[in-house]
């Protein structure tokens, strides 16, 4: 303060103004978040831009030709293997998100409406397996579904089957089961949060006005929790499309997904531009699918009212 007083009047004015600016909320807030923001820009936004750029280039053995081309997208969208992998990945991730949401909803409802004092204990109990290594959870399904695995040896021990079944492991069903288990906790939390926000007096009002419990659930609770259902569906759908570990460990030949093809392009096949185009295509399609899901759930929500 004394330093500013020593300057000439105009200088004092600008300095005061600059100080005011520096101490204003927006500037301080932005300055504080800028290191984290920059980190995300450099290690997330920039890399994604680089991937998009690569998807328009061509690989020539060890060098990359930087003339613009759509050839990679043509290959990604029309070559049967990539098209099939994309479809399968979308099918698996849609099925998994449908199952996780349907299985998770009653749990979220139970904790929110009947959890009583133990709400956070329940949530903790349900999220704990999620914090254990994803790789290990997938591995445990391999142990369960394998030829010499838990399920086969158990069923044989009980005399239900005579010889181990090969139908359990190495197909897309195994991938769906494993992913549904792996993402279960992710679906519960957003639904729980939106159920917590449902005004209980509205449910009471519906009951008082003669709606049965099922009707009041369908017309009040369920539509009001739609935002949670939407985020649950998205938070499962988007990452599972690009899952790599599960198809690799339990998918076998019939359970391969697009991420495995992307990895191959950056690894053995060494065709970065094609890998980039596959990544961009996956991201675009999953965005479209996510958008469609949001619209469908919103439409259902409106219908229910």
């Amino acid at each position: 303060m004394t330093a500013a007083a020593e300057g000439s009047p105009p200088l004092r004015m600008t300095r005061a103004r600059r100080n005011a600016l520096l101490q204003s909320e927006p500037v301080q807030g932005f300055a504080l978040i800028s290191p984290t923001f920059l980190y995300a820009l450099i290690l997330l936004v920039l890399p994604i831009l680089v991937v998009i750029a690569h998807s328009f280039w061509t690989q020539h053995y060890l060098t990359i030709d930087r003339t613009f081309t759509l050839e990679n997208y043509r290959v990604a969208l029309t070559e049967p293997i990539y098209r099939d992998l994309l479809w399968r990945s979308l099918y698996i991730s849609l099925t998994v998100s449908l199952f996780t949401v349907i299985l998770a909803y009653p749990i979220a409802y139970f904790i929110s409406f009947h959890g009583g004092r133990h709400k956070s204990l329940w949530l903790f109990l349900i999220t704990i397996p999620f914090w254990t290594s994803y790789l290990l959870r997938v591995m445990s399904w391999k142990v369960i579904l394998g030829y010499n695995g838990v399920l086969n040896s158990g069923l044989m021990g009980l005399g239900i089957i005579d010889e181990p079944s090969t139908a359990l492991l190495y197909n897309s069903t195994a991938v769906i089961i494993t992913l549904t288990h792996a993402w279960a906790a992710f679906a519960i939390l957003p639904i729980f949060v939106s159920l917590e926000k449902v005004d209980r007096t509205l449910v009471e009002a519906a009951t008082d006005l003669g709606d049965g419990p099922l009707r009041s659930f369908l017309r009040v609770t369920l539509p009001l929790s739609a935002p949670g259902v939407i985020s649950a569906a998205l938070i499962v759908m988007i990452p599972t499309v690009g899952d790599y570990v599960t198809p690799k460990l339990v998918g076998g030949k019939d359970g391969v997904m697009i991420a495995n093809a992307i990895q191959a392009q950056f690894g053995k096949a060494a065709n970065w531009p094609l890998g980039a185009a596959l990544s961009v295509t996956t991201m675009l399609i999953v965005t479209l699918m996510a958008g469609a899901t949001v619209l469908i759930i919103r439409a259902l929500q409106r219908l229910a009212r």
Binding site: T36, L43, Y109, S133, L135, W141, V143, A184, P213, L214
Partner: protein, 273 residues
């Protein structure tokens, strides 16, 4: 009448119980077969042994991987928590345009397919001429840890009574002094909770480490390599069990601390809200 009973607690609690069983059952098999004498995981169990655990310390590659994981986990959790503190503080304390967009961007790794995050970082690092090492793994882990760190920290910072800081400033403390003597003690549990959460994530993270590491393996990468050999399975199960226990303990402590932090600032929520 039946519908009422169905929607009331009775049936739902049975379902909830079955669901928890479904969540835990697969994970429980790892410890069970890690103390079984048979090298293949099948029923009936053949006998109790700690042999698979006893072999672990005699595997040099495993010890290297464990040491690497520790280095990566500690560096990533500290960096992610520092960046998380700055961002969470900015988000909870200040109002400015673009705040939501920036927050959305920082949280984005949570909902992006991990493979795509990993390969795009790989491309940039190779373009920049960075050679792949544990350092590049740390960079990647920090990016995926920040969203979790933010979630834990915002729950600790939110509802934080700003008048306490103002009082401290009015009483003549500098901005830094206020932070060190008023803010920090209030939010310390949240910070430790964030460190533990980030360490656990880094310890268990596979995809990003798989793409961004050079020749040095972390524990999940070591496990991945061992999975190819059926004969190595019991050792992997034993190691996996130890990792499960470590994750479980770290997360339990983190949750207790987070709740304490939330109680200090009289705020509910957190990872679960």
């Amino acid at each position: 009448m039946r519908a009422r009973r169905f929607l009331s607690g009775g049936w739902l609690s049975v379902y909830a119980f079955l669901y928890v069983v479904f969540l835990y059952l697969p994970v429980i098999f790892l410890p069970i077969f890690s103390i079984n004498t048979a090298p293949t995981p099948k029923f009936p169990l053949t006998g109790f042994t700690l042999q698979w655990y006893a072999d672990l310390p005699h595997t040099p590659a495993l010890l290297d991987a464990a040491w690497n994981s520790l280095k990566v986990g500690v560096s990533a959790s500290i960096l992610a928590t520092v960046l998380g503190i700055l961002a969470a503080r900015s988000i909870t304390r200040y109002r400015y345009p673009g705040r939501r967009t920036i927050n959305g961007l920082i949280m984005a790794p949570l909902v992006l397919p991990e493979v795509i995050v990993a390969i795009s970082m790989l491309l940039v690092m190779l373009q920049l001429g960075l050679s792949l090492s544990l350092f590049t793994v740390v960079l990647g882990h920090v990016l995926v840890c920040i969203p979790y760190s933010m979630t834990v920290l915002t729950s600790g910072f939110e509802g934080f009574d700003r008048s306490l800081e103002e009082a401290s400033a009015d009483l003549g403390e500098s901005a830094f002094g206020t932070f060190r003597r008023v803010t920090l003690p209030m939010v310390a549990p949240a910070i430790i909770s964030s460190l533990l959460v980030c360490f656990t994530i880094s310890l268990d993270e596979f995809i990003i480490a798989f793409f961004l590491t050079g020749t040095e393996a972390t524990l999940p990468i070591y496990i991945w390599g061992q999975l190819r050999f059926a004969s190595k399975l019991p050792g992997v199960l034993a190691l996996g069990t130890l990792l499960l226990v470590a994750s479980f303990l770290l997360m339990t402590v983190a949750e207790i601390l987070r709740r304490r932090a939330a109680r200090r600032t009289q705020n509910q929520g957190g990872i679960y809200a």
